[in-house]
């Protein structure tokens, strides 16, 4: 009998899940090791993080506040993945949505309910507009969306920074706009009604993708574009729609951040949510319902960074750890295609 290592054409969800768990655990171990070497006590820090985020009502609310934008940016990236597009620009679309929502909230006088609806529509539209040029460039000129979407992140960040410190700045703070009057009501501490709306959005989109003709065509266009084209599916039209939808969702996340959590526009409001959203989508393996869970996990990781700040560590360390998780996940994903088989001689 001899053992043979074989790469199979597909991997099973269970093994892919196991590979992710191993990747995350390894990344945490490496981080703990580095912390220990640099003179911290990782066990104590872990205890601190767990007790002040999961076993504390305020901690859980903080977690929820980070969870919502992360889940939505993750959903945005995961939607794009359905048709084989990498939206690395969720960060910029988030800014664009926050920008539009603030503009509507500050300058269009309306009753709160109407203002919130307008802000929501504005957030969706701004996110879609922000990804419009990369979308058309990909659809009609085959320009890779990876870099084009990313470049606009910097433009959006500069734009928001400019208006928040320049023409729209508040006289008191100088670094942010005045308070946006329309606020999404809260139902539990800091958790507002945008929360269930966001989760509902993920579930509805998942159902649409798995149960409608449109969803089927989109998934086929993503997995085998030439076969889809041969079958008469309008691949290009689906690509444009899905990418715009991806941008719109990230823009909506930006609107919720302004209307529900921060209540004003400020530089850096996006908080790397767009980039970590990629991580959320990758961990979920492109599953739209999966992002609800992986979004919660990544929110926990990010929140740990904020808690560790009080212990003299920087949030950048969490960014590095996020990168390490992504790196090991990518390796784990590839290795999950391999099987050890035993053949009889």
């Amino acid at each position: 009998m001899a053992y043979r290592i074989q790469r199979l054409p597909s991997s099973t969800p269970l093994i892919a899940f196991a590979a992710r768990v191993i990747a995350v655990v390894l990344a945490l171990l490496v981080t703990a090791l580095i912390l220990a070497v640099t003179g911290h006590n990782p066990v104590e820090l872990a205890g601190e993080v767990l007790s002040s985020s999961l076993f504390d009502s305020f901690g859980l609310q903080d977690l929820g506040v980070i969870f919502m934008p992360l889940m939505l940016t993750g959903l945005s990236v995961a939607i794009g993945q359905q048709i084989g597009a990498w939206n690395i620009g969720a960060e910029g679309q988030f800014y664009a949505g926050a920008f539009a929502a603030t503009a509507i909230g500050l300058f269009i006088p309306a009753p709160v309910w109407l203002s919130l609806i307008l802000m929501g529509v504005g957030g969706f539209a701004a996110g879609a507009i922000w990804i419009l040029v990369p979308t058309l460039a990909k659809a009609y000129a085959d320009v890779s969306e990876l870099i084009s979407t990313l470049l606009l992140n910097f433009v959006a960040a500069l734009l928001v920074y400019y208006v928040a410190t320049g023409p729209w700045h508040d006289r008191m703070t100088n670094s942010a706009t005045p308070k946006v009057p329309a606020e999404i009501p809260e139902f539990w501490g800091a958790i507002h009604w945008g929360f269930p709306v966001a989760i509902l959005l993920a579930i509805v989109l998942a159902l649409v993708l798995s149960n409608t003709k449109w969803g089927y065509e989109v998934r086929l266009s993503g997995s085998n574009p030439s076969a889809a084209k041969y079958a008469g599916i309008p691949v290009r039209r689906h690509l444009i729609m899905v990418m715009l939808l991806s941008g719109a969702i990230a823009g909506f996340a930006g609107m919720l951040e302004v209307a529900g959590t921060v209540h004003r526009l400020q530089g850096g409001i996006s908080n790397n949510y767009g980039y970590i959203g990629i991580m959320v989508a990758v961990l979920a393996r492109g599953s739209l319902v999966g992002v609800i869970f992986t979004g919660a996990f990544m929110a926990f990781i990010q929140n740990s960074g904020i808690i560790l700040q009080t212990q003299g560590l920087t949030t950048s360390a969490v960014l590095a750890m996020t990168g390490l998780i992504l790196f090991l996940t990518a390796i784990g994903e590839e290795l999950s295609y391999y099987r050890v088989t035993r053949d009889r001689v």
Partner: protein
């Protein structure tokens, strides 16, 4: 006249970062590997440069240390993408997050501190006295000559006029054929991905030792991504990569001049120019010059992992 001299001098200086990083990315992409980790590699290189120069007071040692750190991270990336054949996009993004996060974490103690020694301009006698162009071409720091002359010419020769260069390009175009011809695909890919990453690390050190010159959290400011985009614009050629870097240096220099002369445009909008310019540069040529498409096309196997036994 002073305006043109100033613009050109700054253009060479500012473009050097992008040119060096783009040349590095050309090496990786020519053998078929997309490295989206340039931004992170540059962050690590920038920090290494500052840290090493603080310890040794030698900018040359700082630059060499940054090359080494870039190579180490590049080797890790190459292990994942070439040996394990993990997804290149994900590994690249991961490298960007790791490099940026790590550099910011370690770099806290160097934040805002100017480099204790930098690469100073060296005026070449006589030539630097040529009116208008002399100062821009012949009174620059030594890295400028490395980036705009030695590397592009040397690498172009290597890639297009030697047997080894043919092998290297074959690996990026058709790895299966290269493999059949007896070329070790993995070895060549590993080598050039690592070398390209070393140059990205060097580009970071160029920023902190010759251009800015100090370390701060956002010092890279997306230059790594612009460099990746420039490779497409440069048609995957080292010489064109250096020239595109220079062109972007010119755009940056225009922004500086605009700020210094008080043009009625907010600095934030001038800062957007390089990003919007890059976006235009990767979209417009594809539409405008259809005939150039084949000459400027990406290596055929770019982004594709190579499995020997899968057919």
């Amino acid at each position: 006249m002073d305006l043109i001299t100033g613009l050109l001098t700054t253009a060479f200086l500012a473009g050097g970062v992008l040119a060096l990083a783009a040349i590095g990315e050309v090496l990786a992409e020519r053998v078929g590997i997309v490295n989206l980790g340039v931004e992170g590699l540059m962050a690590m290189g920038a920090l290494t440069g500052i840290a090493a120069v603080t310890a040794t007071h030698s900018p040359v040692l700082g630059f060499l240390a940054a090359l080494a750190v870039g190579a180490i991270f590049g080797a890790v990336f190459a292990f994942a993408t070439v040996m394990v054949k993990a997804n290149q996009v994900l590994c690249g993004l991961a490298l960007t997050l790791m490099g940026t996060g790590l550099a910011q974490t370690i770099g806290r103690s160097y934040s805002g501190m100017p480099a204790v020694a930098t690469f100073e301009p060296i005026a070449i006698p006589l030539l630097s006295d040529i009116p208008i162009l002399g100062k821009a071409f012949f009174s620059q720091n030594i890295l400028i000559y490395l980036i705009y002359l030695i590397l592009p010419i040397g690498l172009s020769y290597l890639m297009f006029y030697t047997r080894h260069g043919m092998n290297m390009r074959a690996v990026g175009e058709n790895p299966a054929a290269a493999d059949a011809a007896g070329i070790s695909v993995n070895k060549i890919r590993f080598l050039y991905v690592t070398a390209g990453a070393a140059l990205a690390g060097g580009a970071g050190a160029y920023l902190t030792l010759a251009f800015v010159p100090s370390w701060s959290d956002g010092v890279i400011a997306g230059r790594g991504w612009i460099a990746v985009a420039l490779v497409i614009f440069a048609g995957y050629r080292p010489g064109m990569a250096a020239l595109s870097g220079l062109l972007f240096g010119l755009i940056t220099a225009l922004g500086f001049v605009g700020q210094a002369r008080g043009w009625p445009v907010a600095p934030a909008f001038l800062s957007m120019l390089p990003y919007l310019g890059t976006l235009g540069f990767i979209i417009v040529p594809v539409i405008a010059w259809q005939k150039m498409r084949r000459a400027m096309a990406a290596p055929a196997a770019l982004g594709e992992p190579y499995y020997r036994n899968v057919r």
